[in-house]
């Protein structure tokens, strides 16, 4: 009796592991590739607009692109469109800078009723806070190493 049950359990586990992740990972990666790639193409279009129409140098054009993409990501989040993009794109919608602004706007809207200071003001940084802490923090570490040991 027990042996049959165990056997069944094992078969079921095999069935689950064979069925579940592989197809999903391939599909998820394909859609992440497409969505993430498309977002970067939009970024490239904006970068070229900055370079060609506003005659920005390389650094300014990159900053201009970042600002516009953050704005677009924020607006699409506000309109509820970015959630739909995220459902399709997975990491393709999280990793680009538009995902960074999505991570700011989304909790800020959600916690609006908790007030302007501890609601919006604080919850904006639920994800963006850690990103800035670790990004800026590690850049300072890099600066120390560079100043004292490399230069």
């Amino acid at each position: 009796m027990d042996a049959i049950k165990q056997n069944k359990d094992r078969e079921y586990q095999k069935y689950v592991s064979a069925k579940m992740p592989k197809t999903n990972i391939l599909r998820n990666c394909t859609s992440a590739f497409l969505v993430g790639g498309l977002i970067c193409v939009i970024g490239q279009i904006i970068l070229n607009i900055g370079r060609n129409y506003y005659n920005l140098d390389q650094n300014s054009a990159a900053t201009f692109t970042t600002i516009v993409m953050i704005f677009l990501g924020g607006i699409l989040t506000g309109l509820g469109v970015y959630d739909d993009i995220g459902k399709i794109g997975g990491a393709g919608s999280i990793v680009p800078i538009t995902g960074f602004s999505n991570s700011i706007v989304s909790p800020a809207m959600e916690f609006k009723r908790e007030g302007f200071v501890l609601g919006i003001g604080a919850k904006m940084f639920t994800v963006a806070g850690p990103v800035l802490v670790y990004g800026i923090g590690s850049s300072v570490v890099v600066g120390f190493i560079y100043y004292f040991f490399v230069r």
Binding site: N28, G36, T65, V95, I97, T98, M109, I136, Y146, Y147
Partner: protein, 118 residues
């Protein structure tokens, strides 16, 4: 060609994130932190900038590009201003993005309400 390079490189960086999510069950917040930090490290080592030169927005729009901007800013400022640059360079270089994120994020959160889940 420029757009194809941006598409492929940007897409591939996102695939790395997708594999991390699917294989390790890391939350998106952790993915973003890992990507920014690795962008800083790759930027400091001079590995990421050639990728930006090659793929343009395909490398600068994904979050490691933000880390690369921070690292590049610190190195440039240390070269120009010395020790103070350690603290001023990073945010100076990323100022536009950070300020846009704070300002637009706040404004948009005030104007729009969350949509009910469909």
């Amino acid at each position: 060609m420029e757009y194809l390079k941006a598409f492929v490189v940007g897409g591939l960086i996102c695939v790395v994130g997708q594999i991390l999510i699917d294989k390790t069950n890391l939350s998106p917040a952790r993915i973003l932190v890992i990507f920014v930090t690795s962008g800083v490290v790759l930027g400091a080592l001079g590995i990421y900038e050639p990728l930006v030169q090659f793929a343009g927005a395909g490398a600068s729009i994904p979050l490691p590009g933000f880390g690369n901007t921070l690292a590049k800013g610190v190195l440039d400022s240390v070269n120009q201003e010395g020790i103070l640059g350690i603290f001023t360079g990073g945010v100076q270089a990323a100022a536009g993005g950070i300020t846009a994120a704070v300002f637009f994020g706040y404004l948009i959160a005030i104007i729009f309400d969350p949509k009910t889940k469909r």
